[in-house]
Amino acid sequence: MSSLPKNLAELQEEIEAHARSYGLDFFPVIFELLDYRGLNQVASYGGFPTRYPHWRFGMEYEYLSKSYSYGLSKIYEMVINNDPCYAYLLECNQIVDQKLVMAHVYAHCDFFKNNLAFSKTNRKMMDVMANHATRIRRYMDAHGVEMVENFIDACLSLENLIDPHSPFIVRERPKERQETEESRPQVRRMKSKSYMNDYVNPPECVEARQKKLDEEAKRKKRFPESPQRDVLKFLIDHSPLENWRRDVLSMVREEAYYYGPQAQTKIMNEGWATYWHSKLMTEKVLTDAEIIDYADHHSGTLGGRSGRLNPYKLGVELYRNIEERWNKGRFGKEFDDCEDLVERARWDRKTGQGREKIFEVRKHCTDVTFIDNYLTEDFCREHKLFIYDFNQKTGMYQISDRDFRKVKQRLLFQLTNFGQPFIYVVDGNFRNKGELLLQHKYEGVELKHDYARDTLRNIQRVWGRPVNLDTVVDEKARRITFDGEDFEEKDVSDKVA
């Protein structure tokens, strides 16, 4: 199956065996050797060489190629969550780099397979992407490249309006015709003798009135019944779209859900891969002659620009910290209550559960729970974490605090919902005119205003009727409306629940 040259194929076999011996559990991995153009191509397509045509991949390619040729950046490796797992190696890398990358890839693959956030992702995504490409090409043939492309642009603008937890929850159970206690509204009839009834209350008339009442009752019902976070799904289900457009929108949604878990576990996933490549390389794979090069490249991965948080570094240190704590029994009430610093520093109960613990963590956590559960005050101090803010007066970003609780809170805020705002569909029949009302759940940070307007414009293109967004602009509650031609912004006092 593998198209690797012999020396690399042997290397793969060796590293795979080592990885397995440590208990890593992965899909079969297929490595492919690419030159930098090929690798840049795959990277531009988000890992899938068979993706649908779109200019933004070309833009990405332009960017990657330029930074590569100016020596600013180089992609070492690329791995795809799929069964079998596809991974790409850069042809011109040294052998020691190839080893490092392979070890790294096996850990990623273990993560894909075992982390619960990934459990609902489609493991045949390679095929799905190719199908999407075929469908989109077909639509392009039928409706013109420009038209399809423009619509994809609009869809991509809404790509992040999904609910990453929804694959795990059955939100809307299929509705059974449940008769609620509030009975159907009845037409009031005039009193009459029974033989006169048909004259006093003509049946046609009653029926017509009844129909009207029913309709009104239906309209009064909330739509959607509760605010919906999966804006894309709502639009797919309820927008008046042509079939091909609906299909494009649902493809974009499907791909967004596929990529969701990767964004949810960036720190964990990279940390895990770094932890294992370091372990495999230093304990098993490296030859003496390679050690300096390895150390150089490894530190390149973990280093980074001063002051910036590097997910690789944060992740791997946290895993190591957890491993140490569980090896020495530094957890639980007894340890937490201990206030003697000397005692704490010496604390070692020889519990030896470290390895087991990190495997458990990689199974159950996402970045949010990883940080929330395992980022301790000691860790924060040791690794010199801080928060920085934009100082309006000086026009600079400055370090603003080193307090543990604030650092953790900020970090969690950034990770929650991919560090993106929460947007809900509140009303699909707003003003009783079929307008769409979205709500931004304000949590102290406002939206980027010009982007918000442009996004609203794109939602309107999908929804067809005017769209509204309740948000906060300059610390005031505002409603931005776009009716297809003009924007309107007003203060809103009555907050729609």
Partner: protein
Amino acid sequence: MILRIEQDHNRFKQIIRGRIKKELKKYISSGELIGRRGKDFISIPLPQIRIPQFIYGPKQTGGVGQGEGAIGTVLGAGEVESGKQEAGNQPGEHLLEVDISLDELAEMLGEELELPEIKPKGRKNILSNKDRYTGISRYGPETLRHFKRTYKETLKRSISTGTYRPEYPILIPIRADKRFRSWKSAAMPQANAVIIYMMDVSGSMGEEQKEIVRIESFWIDTWLRHHYKGVEIRYIIHDAEAREVDRDTFYHTRESGGTVISAAYKLCSKIVDLEYPADEWNIYCLHFSDGDNWSQGDTEECVTILKGQVLPRVNLFCYGQVESPYGTGQFLVDLKEAYGEDERVALSKIENKEGIYQSIKDFLGRGR
């Protein structure tokens, strides 16, 4: 190997081109591009193209970092851009620098201004010989030895003479086996052009007027270079006298003397006479002034020189009158009277930077 991404890459480039074209009018009158010109390419700054989404405004978010530093420490400039003009420059937002070739820019200019292609004049296509290494010869220097051909010849010879042994396949070429790359001369048609810029540098031409000339000449250069292989450019400045200068001096000299335009025309005609035989060169003369001439008599002389010596030789004579608060603008009127119908003469009045657009159209719109 052609990558699939090429298609998307091209599409992206096409979108970029579209953007540039849309903004071209702005670029034409702003002069922003002049300093960004390399040898064959020009780099054009464009706002980053991004697909809008609901995201947080950057100012309020801040972030989490790692490292040394007390509270209040400013983070390194390389990492987060500091606001230069106003607080609010965001990290990560940068301009897209797009390199496009001058040829392409000229094409865009042509499309935007609807300029006709220039047809080089009749016999002015001279032939130049160009050598290309496409042939094979039996003699030549070792550096040009054609390995594959030589090998084949040696192989042929050794098999035919029966000295070839498959188990020991070593071949030694002798002199007769050797083949060398050799050139063939091809005659390539070549059209040469010379542009002669003349400018009035008398006191009444201010900085603003010169800026206009500079921008306009940039675009005219671009357009003419697109059409001719070899383009030479000469610069003449004049007040009461005329002299030839280099490019830098041309744009930066300011004299205070009066204006005698005929002096420049005389010099121009002399240069053409001596160096640019009209049957070998496509000649373009452009003159910029604020339209103030010393005397009516001199204007008449100008008309005579143009008619007798300049016009018969040139492809095009352009006169651009840059509006200035001091000039009377009489010269344009006089020229118009004399040559209103002559298609070798293009006259244009440039009131301000916005006028450059129309003026380029006036000058180059004749396809000469």
